[in-house]
């Protein structure tokens, strides 16, 4: 994927001195990552701008909601409940998107996430697994997600398969296995603990929203405050430079896909709880939802750049659109067209922003030095 950044990479390299003045030449790759330590400074200067843009989009969507359904928005308790519903709707895809963001920043893509969610969901709801209780179900969902992710990672890093191909194959295979295990039936979850995950509220906020918040927080820390995160940015930005800087690129790639798989395992538990069942066709096209959310959140599809907060906002924007169309009784066809339009618009806006920003930085540097 790195060969797809002939224009972006030099620009980024040129930006570095301006953003993080104390550059140690020996740690180019690390500094590249360090430049975007957080979303409000460094490269985050641009990221913050983009996130503000996403927030503005959200505000616009809410205003449209208020204008089109003033009767509903006039009721404060409905507004609160609706906000929680939007967040709950975002929770499953949100968890998947956190994993996806890591994979994309690391220069890959994971098309198998929806299939992994389905496989993990089906695996944890078989009669045999359910006999072990909630603990067994959670264990098997997480382990299956993790294991499939590791297989993806091994195929890509050591098998040298292109991520697109490897995860496409896994998407088909995992859904096939899920259909085989479930015998194509909808498997009902009878475990009250698991089903309770979707109904329990703490301090008036659904547990699902806390899980999303926890995964997002963990993802943010992992990306911005750990070596793992810096390595991810380095590997995605320029794998060769990362390798020369002493990063075990292959092992890191395996870990990235394992992380994505683990997120799918978590999402599988959440989705199974929500639907009180699992089947091979569940989580249909979640890969596209997750990729789209990451992209409008500002993650560069060619790797090396992206933020967790941006991805989260991307997911919330999509679930707000779904909600907006639902409360206005508009067709889902129109909704999909709007979603497509927003993806294109977001990328176009980013390109313009990126260009003007790098021009600004170049000029800025010229005056300071």
């Amino acid at each position: 994927m790195s060969d797809m950044t002939p224009t972006a990479a030099p620009e980024r390299a040129a930006d570095l001195p301006a953003q993080s003045p104390p550059v140690d030449p020996a740690e180019t790759a690390k500094a590249d990552a360090g430049a975007r330590l957080s979303w409000w400074r460094g490269d985050g200067g641009e990221g913050a701008k983009r996130n503000l843009g996403l927030l503005a989009t959200l505000v616009v969507l809410v205003v449209i909601g208020i204008l089109t359904r003033p009767d509903l928005y006039g009721d404060a308790s409905w507004v609160w409940g609706n906000t929680l519903t939007i967040l709950k709707l975002a929770s499953v895809v949100g968890v998947v998107t956190v994993g996806m963001t890591f994979v994309i920043i690391g220069g890959g893509i994971d098309l198998s996430v929806g299939a992994i969610v389905a496989l993990a969901g089906v695996w944890c709801t078989t009669v045999a697994t359910q006999s072990y209780g909630a603990g067994g179900m959670i264990f098997s969902a997480l382990t299956v997600g993790l294991a499939v992710g590791v297989v993806n990672g091994l195929l890509i890093s050591y098998g040298r398969l292109v991520p697109f191909i490897a995860t496409l194959a896994m998407m088909v295979a995992a859904r096939g296995l899920a259909a085989e295990i479930s015998d194509k039936q909808t498997q009902v979850s009878n475990d009250s603990f698991i089903n309770g995950i979707a109904t329990v509220k703490l301090l008036g906020i659904p547990l699902l929203v806390y899980i999303l918040a926890a995964v997002v927080a963990a993802g943010w820390v992992l990306l911005n405050r750990t070596t793992f995160g810096r390595r991810t940015v380095a590997v995605g930005g320029n794998p060769e430079a990362a390798r020369l800087a002493g990063i075990n690129v292959r092992r890191h790639t395996v870990l990235l896909y394992a992380l994505s798989g683990l997120c799918c395992g978590i999402a599988a538990i959440m989705l199974t709880a929500q639907a009180t069942s699992a089947q091979a066709a569940m989580a249909n096209l979640y890969e596209l939802d997750a990729i789209a959310a990451a992209i409008i959140g500002g993650t560069l599809l060619s790797g090396g750049r992206g933020t967790i907060i941006g991805s989260l906002l991307g997911v919330i924007i999509f679930s707000t659109i779904t909600n907006l169309f639902a409360i206005n009784g508009l067709s889902t066809e129109a909704q999909n067209m709007v979603k497509g339009g927003i993806i294109v618009a977001a990328v176009l806006v980013q390109q313009v922003q990126f260009r003007s920003l790098s021009q600004f930085l170049t000029r800025n540097r010229a005056t300071t030095t």
């Binding site: 709707l89 045999a128 039936q185 929500q274 639907a275 699992a278 779904t322």
Partner: protein, 347 residues
Amino acid sequence: MTSDLSRRRLLFGGAALSAGVLLAGCTSNEQTPTAAQTKAAATGANSEPGKKVTIGFSAPAADHGWIAAITNNAKAQAGAYSDVELKSVEAGADAAAQRAALSTLISQKPDVIVLLPHDGKELNAFGLEAMKAGIPVVNLDRAFPDARAYRLQIKGDNYGMGVAAATYIAEQLKAKGVSNPVIGEIPGIDSLELTQERSKGFADTLASLGLKVANRRPAEFTADSGQQAATGLFQALPKIDALWNHDDDQGIGVLAAVNQANRKEFFMVGGAGSKKAMEDIAADNTVLKATVTYSPSMASSAISLARLIGQGKGMSDLVELQVPKEIVLASETITKENAGNYLKLGF
């Protein structure tokens, strides 16, 4: 260092291996097998073993409960006859794959073919070809547009499902004395013709009674999509009087959403007639009060009729000496009162 690494590897390897063993044990789905929907004609000359009939069968690979029940029913029904041999071919994932599978089926020279096509229009040509080759085709559910492409067409009534659901809802609302009712609808995949027919039957019947659908959010025949569609619908309609959900499989998710949103003010009608829906209706402890059938038992009947066609017999209760050309199943309304009778047809 090396010993440390190998110990670590050993530890990880051992953990992974034991997790794998544990997981492999978790894939079993053993439970009491559900009785398939079979019925050999109990009386009359038609039940007597006759000429041996080889029936070729093809249906799409099952992606949800209904299609799985179709294939299971066909196999079970064929097994109930001593004079029927069933040659089943997996139809794969799309019309092209099914066409390929069918050409191998034709080469095995079956006496009759029972076919649930991926798409009636796309496989119409195959029907014509088989009929021209002298093999009668029993077209199951998804209809061939060309009447020369089949000997018998047996299908469910999608439009009638909508009619039945709307009729039941209107009756109930009238009995409750609700004026200006808010009616919600959760269809399946909206781009499918069958979904459009169901929705049209529903809307037409409601309109004839002066009612209308307040909001419809399509799902995808899966429980998780049903949950999401229902959640959206509940946000849009703070108060609902009646709800029709097209499919009982996705209804599992709809009922979960009902539970999660703590909504109890309305009653719900399902569709298709799954075993679980019938049990819920009989137990009468959820908002699900009725379901309108679209029964996969039609596959069992298709095998019985294919046998009769192969043996040149008619349906013994009718005057005609041959099996009729078209049979459309009525969509029946299952409520608490009659759920017990239908339970054996649930899938």
